[in-house]
Amino acid sequence: MSYNNPFTAETQLKLSPFFERTSKLNESQEWRRWSGYLSATQYELTHDNEYFAIRTKAALLDITPLYKYIIEGPDAQRFLDRLVTRNIKICKVGQVMYTPWCDEDGKQIDDGTVQRLSENKFRITSAEPNLEWLDTNAAGMELSVSDDSKTTASLALQGPNSRTILNIIASESLDSLKFFWMTDTHFGDIPVSISRTGYTGDLGYEIWMDPKDALDVWDLLLEKGKPYGITPTGLQALDIARIEAGLILLDIDYISTRHAIIESRKSSPYELGLGWAVKLKKKDFIGKKALAAEQARGPEWEFVGIEIEWNELENHYRKVGLPPRLPGTAWRTSTPLYKGNEQVGYATSGTWSPILKRYIALAHVKAEYAKENTQLDFELKVEHFRKLTPARIVKTPFFDPERKRSCPQ
C-alpha cells in the first residue's frame, strides 16, 4: 500500500502557513472550506483515530482560519466592555473570556474569545469577519483596531496528553496555567503565546505565533509529541468533540443577526444557552436594554442537549431488518422535534458519541419544553421513511472531563 503518492494541485482558496506540512500529511486529501482557507476534513481515510486523539491522546489542529483582531489603546477595555456581553473590566492580563456579542436588539452577531494580552491590548477571535463592526463601535475612542487574522498563525493542541507535550517543548511549565488563562513562552528561541482554551471540551491549549515560525512550531510539536500520540486532526473529528462539549457553531446552530434576513432566524444569547455570559449588572453594553427585557420576561426559545433514546431507535431499524444505522460523522441538518402533534423545536447538530456511546444532538426548543428530562419526539428517517423516536432533554456538556479544568497537584 503506497503512502507516498505525490500530490499537487492548484487552488483558489487561501493556504495556511501550516499547509506545506498538512497537505503532505493529509492521506485522504479531504478538505473543507473554513473562512476561505483549505482546511483538512480529516487526515486519515477514517476520522476515528483523530477523534480518539482528542479524547485520549493529543490532537493537533490548524486553527489559523479563525478571524482575529487586535484592539490596542487606552480605551481598549472600555471599548470591549461595551461591545461584548461579558464583563471585560474584570478580565485580568493573561486571562481569556469566551463571550457572545450582540446588536442593539440583543440578537447575537458572533461569539469568540477575548484575550487580555496587556493592560491596554486585547485579541478577539470570531467566526466571521467583524472588522467593520469593531471599527464602527470604536468611533471616538482612543484605540486602534487591526486585523490580526493573517499576522498570527494558530494551532490547537487538544487532549489529555497536550500538557505533557507542551511541558517538554515550552521554556516554562504549564502546570499552573488555569482554564481560560494564557501565557507567553518560548519553544526554543521561538516566542509563542499559549492559551488554555479550545473547542473540544477537553484538556487543551491553543498556540499563537508569528506565521514565519509556523513550520518550525509544527515540526517541533510533531517530533516531541510523537511518543505521546500527537495526531494531526481535521474538522470531522473536531465537530464530534465540540457537540459532545455542547459548544455552538455559527451558521450551523445559529445565524448571525447580520444576515438573518427575517426576525425569526435571529437568536439572543439567552436562546443559545449563553445566558450565563450576559452580565446585566454591567453599566452599559450593546444590546443591554433588549437583553434585560428578555431576561425579565424569559426567553422564548432555549438551546439544549438532547439524547436520542437507544432502544426505540434500535426497534425502528429492527422492524425493517437492519441493525441500527448511526451517523458515522456529525450531521448538520435541521431535524424537527415534536411534542405530540406539535413541532416544538429542531436539532441543528448531532452525532453518535463514540466516547459516551450515546446518540446526542444540540437543539433549539421552545422554552416551555426545555426542562431537563422532558421527552420529545425526534424525527428519524429509517429507509427513507420518516419515523418519530423519543429523545430526552439532557444537560450539556454531554462530556465534561475533570481534566478540562484541573491543574496537576
Binding site: M1, Y3, E44, L45, T46, D48, N49, F52, R55, T56, K57, N161, K226, P227, Y228, G229, W310, N311, G321, L322, P323, P324, R325, L326, G328, W352, P354, I355, L356, K357, R358
Partner: protein
C-alpha cells in the same frame, strides 16, 4: 464475625462478569459483596504493570461484544470505559502481506492485488455476516430457556425465538445452519480463494478452542467473534484505553457507585450450603459472610466441583459438569519493547501496526499448529493474534517504548510431561522465533518477556485448564446446554446458588452479557 456480615447477594470472583452482575444487583437496590481472590480486580480482563512502566493487558486483550445497553445502563463511559478502534488486520507473509483496513475501497484494492474475485466477494461477505448476526443476536440476548421443564417465562422466550426464526430469510437459515455445523475452513472455501485471506479469517474460528480451522464446529466460533463487527457504527470491537483491566475497573466503579462492597485478596474456600440452600461463603482465612444468595463468576468446574460438595448436587449434573469441555488451547506472551517491530514485508511505522497482526499465512500453518497440540505438544510455528497496545494508547508504555500482546495458539494444557519452567521458556522462544520470521528485529528490542502457559492461566487467574472462555464454544456447550442442560438459565441445582461467568450463556469474551443476564434473571426471581 459471621452474622454481622449479612448481604443480599455475594458474588464470588471479581472478573468482569461477576462485577457486571454485582453492578446490576446493586443498581436494583440490593446489598452486594464481591469477593476477589487476587490483589487486583478483573479476572482475565486485567491490566498489570509486569515490568516497570509497561502496562500489559495480561490475558484478555481486546473488547469484542461489550453490549451497548450494559455500557449505558451501568454508565460505564462515566466510570472510565473508553474503547479505541482497532483499525486493521495485517497478515505478514514471507515476501508479501495482506492488510485489511477500515476503508472499504482501500481493502478492496489490497485484496484485489491477490485475488480480484476475493476482493469483490469480500464486499458481500461483511453484509452477509451482518445478517447472520442479526439472526443470532436475539438468541444471545435471551436467557436460555429450560427446555425440559419450561416455566411460563421460558415458554414466552421460546415462542419469541420461534417467531424470530420464522421471520428469517431462507438465506439466513442456510448460512446459519452452515455456520453451526461446518468447519471455518470449509465455510470460507465456499467464498474465497486467496489462502492467507481465508486463513486469517478462519483464525477467529479457532481462538480459544481446541479445534483446528478444518474441525467441524469452528465456523460457529468465527461467528461468535464476528458478532463484534455487527454494530460496526458503534465500534464494539476495540481496544480499551489503559488495557482490558480498565474495563473491569469501570464496571467495578459503577458497582461501587450503586453501593456494592468489593473486597480483593478475599479468597472464597467454600459456599456454605445448608439444607440444599446456599446461605453464604467461607473464606480461606476463616471469615464467613452470610447472604440470601451466592453467585459464582467462576467457571463451571470451579463453581460446581470446588465451591460446593458433589454430595449437594444431583449425580447426573455432576457428570455433565465433569464432561464439560474446558481444554485450554492457548497461551499468552506479553513483551515490553524498546522500539517497534519492523516487518520485512512492510517496513517501518504505519497503519499496519495499529490493528491486529495475524500470523496466519495458510490453513496448513494453522492446522499444523493444531496437529502439534493434538499430540500433546505446543505448536512449533503457532498461530498468533498480536496487537501493539502502545501504538493505539501511548500511555501503555514509557514514551517511545512499546508493549506487544501475543495471543498464541496452540498450547495444550495437557502437554506431554506437564508444563514446567523449561517448557514455558521453550514455548516463549518458539513464539519469538515465529515473530522473527516476519519481523527479524524483534529479538533485539525485547526488554522483558512474560510467557503465560495454560497452566499459568489456571494457577494465576483460576481459569480451569487455562481455557479463556470458561469452556469451549462448541455447539453441544451453547445456549440451553451451557454449562449443562436444565441449568443454563443461571440457576443451579442448589437453591439460591447462581452462576454468571463465561461458562454460562452466551459465553466468553468481554461482553458483560452473562453477568447482565444472570443479574436480570435473579432480580426476576426475587420479585
Amino acid at each position: 464475625m459471621s452474622t454481622v456480615n449479612k448481604y443480599d447477594a455475594i458474588v464470588i470472583g471479581g472478573g468482569h462478569n461477576g462485577l457486571t452482575a454485582a453492578a446490576y444487583l446493586s443498581r436494583a437496590g440490593k446489598k452486594v459483596l464481591v469477593l476477589e481472590r487476587r490483589y487486583i480486580l478483573g479476572g482475565a480482563a486485567v491490566t498489570e504493570e509486569i515490568y516497570p512502566g509497561f502496562k500489559f493487558s495480561v490475558c484478555s486483550y481486546v473488547v469484542s461484544l461489550m453490549k451497548p445497553n450494559v455500557m449505558r445502563e451501568l454508565m460505564l463511559p462515566k466510570f472510565g470505559l473508553e474503547l479505541l478502534p482497532l483499525e486493521s488486520t495485517f497478515t505478514p507473509l514471507d515476501n508479501d502481506y495482506l492488510l485489511r483496513t477500515a476503508d472499504a475501497d482501500q481493502t478492496y484494492r489490497e485484496i484485489a492485488r491477490h485475488s480480484r474475485k476475493d476482493a469483490e466477494t469480500y464486499m458481500r461477505f461483511g453484509p452477509a455476516m451482518g445478517q447472520i448476526g442479526m439472526a443470532v443476536r436475539p438468541i444471545l440476548e435471551t436467557v436460555a430457556p429450560n427446555a425440559i421443564r419450561p416455566s411460563l417465562s421460558d415458554m414466552g422466550a421460546m415462542k419469541k425465538l420461534l417467531d424470530h426464526f420464522k421471520s428469517l430469510s431462507s438465506e439466513q437459515f442456510e448460512y446459519l445452519t452452515k455456520l453451526m455445523t461446518m468447519s471455518s475452513a470449509d465455510f470460507l472455501d465456499e467464498w474465497f480463494e486467496f489462502e492467507p485471506l481465508k486463513a486469517s479469517m478462519s483464525a477467529s474460528g479457532i481462538i480459544g478452542t481446541f479445534m483446528g480451522p478444518r474441525s467441524p464446529g469452528s465456523a460457529y466460533v468465527m461467528l461468535h467473534h464476528y458478532m463484534g463487527d455487527i454494530d460496526g457504527a458503534f465500534r464494539a470491537w476495540g481496544f480499551q484505553r489503559g488495557g482490558t483491566g480498565a474495563v473491569s475497573m469501570a464496571i467495578a466503579r459503577s458497582a461501587e457507585h450503586f453501593g456494592a462492597d468489593i473486597m480483593t485478596e478475599a479468597s472464597v474456600e467454600k459456599v456454605i450450603v445448608k439444607n440444599g440452600r446456599a446461605v453464604g461463603v467461607a473464606l480461606e482465612n476463616g471469615d464467613e459472610y452470610c447472604s440470601d444468595i451466592v453467585i459464582s463468576g467462576l467457571d463451571p468446574k470451579l463453581t460446581f466441583l470446588k465451591m460446593v460438595d458433589e454430595s449437594d448436587l444431583p449425580s447426573d449434573f455432576v457428570t455433565d459438569i465433569k464432561n464439560f469441555r474446558i481444554r485450554g488451547s492457548s497461551g499468552k506472551v506479553n513483551l515490553a519493547l524498546d522500539a517497534l517491530p519492523n516487518f520485512t514485508c512492510l517496513p517501518g511505522d504505519g497503519h499496519h501496526l495499529r490493528g491486529a497482526i495475524s500470523i496466519s499465512p495458510s490453513y496448513d500453518h494453522l492446522e499444523r499448529a493444531y496437529d502439534d497440540a493434538k499430540y500433546g505438544n505446543f505448536s512449533q510455528e503457532p498461530y498468533m493474534d498480536i496487537i501493539l497496545p502502545s501504538v493505539i494508547d501511548p500511555d501503555m508504555a514509557p514514551p517511545g517504548k512499546h508493549v506487544m500482546s501475543c495471543f498464541v495458539q496452540y498450547a495444550p494444557y495437557d502437554i506431554k510431561g506437564g508444563w514446567n519452567d523449561q517448557k514455558r521458556e521453550a514455548f516463549g522462544d518458539v513464539v519469538i522465533n515465529t515473530i522473527a520470521r516476519y519481523a527479524p528485529n524483534i529479538k533485539d528490542i525485547i526488554l522483558h518477556r512474560q510467557v503465560l502457559t495454560p497452566a499459568d492461566l489456571e494457577s494465576i487467574f483460576g481459569l480451569t485448564e487455562g481455557n479463556i472462555f470458561h469452556g469451549e464454544l462448541s455447539l453441544q456447550q451453547l445456549f440451553t446446554m451451557r454449562p449443562a442442560v436444565k441449568w443454563a438459565d443461571y440457576t443451579t441445582p442448589i437453591k439460591n446458588y447462581y452462576q454468571c461467568g463465561s461458562g454460562t450463556h452466551p459465553g466468553g469474551g468481554i461482553t458483560g452479557s452473562p453477568g447482565e443476564m444472570a443479574a436480570k434473571k435473579i432480580l426476576g426471581i426475587w420479585s
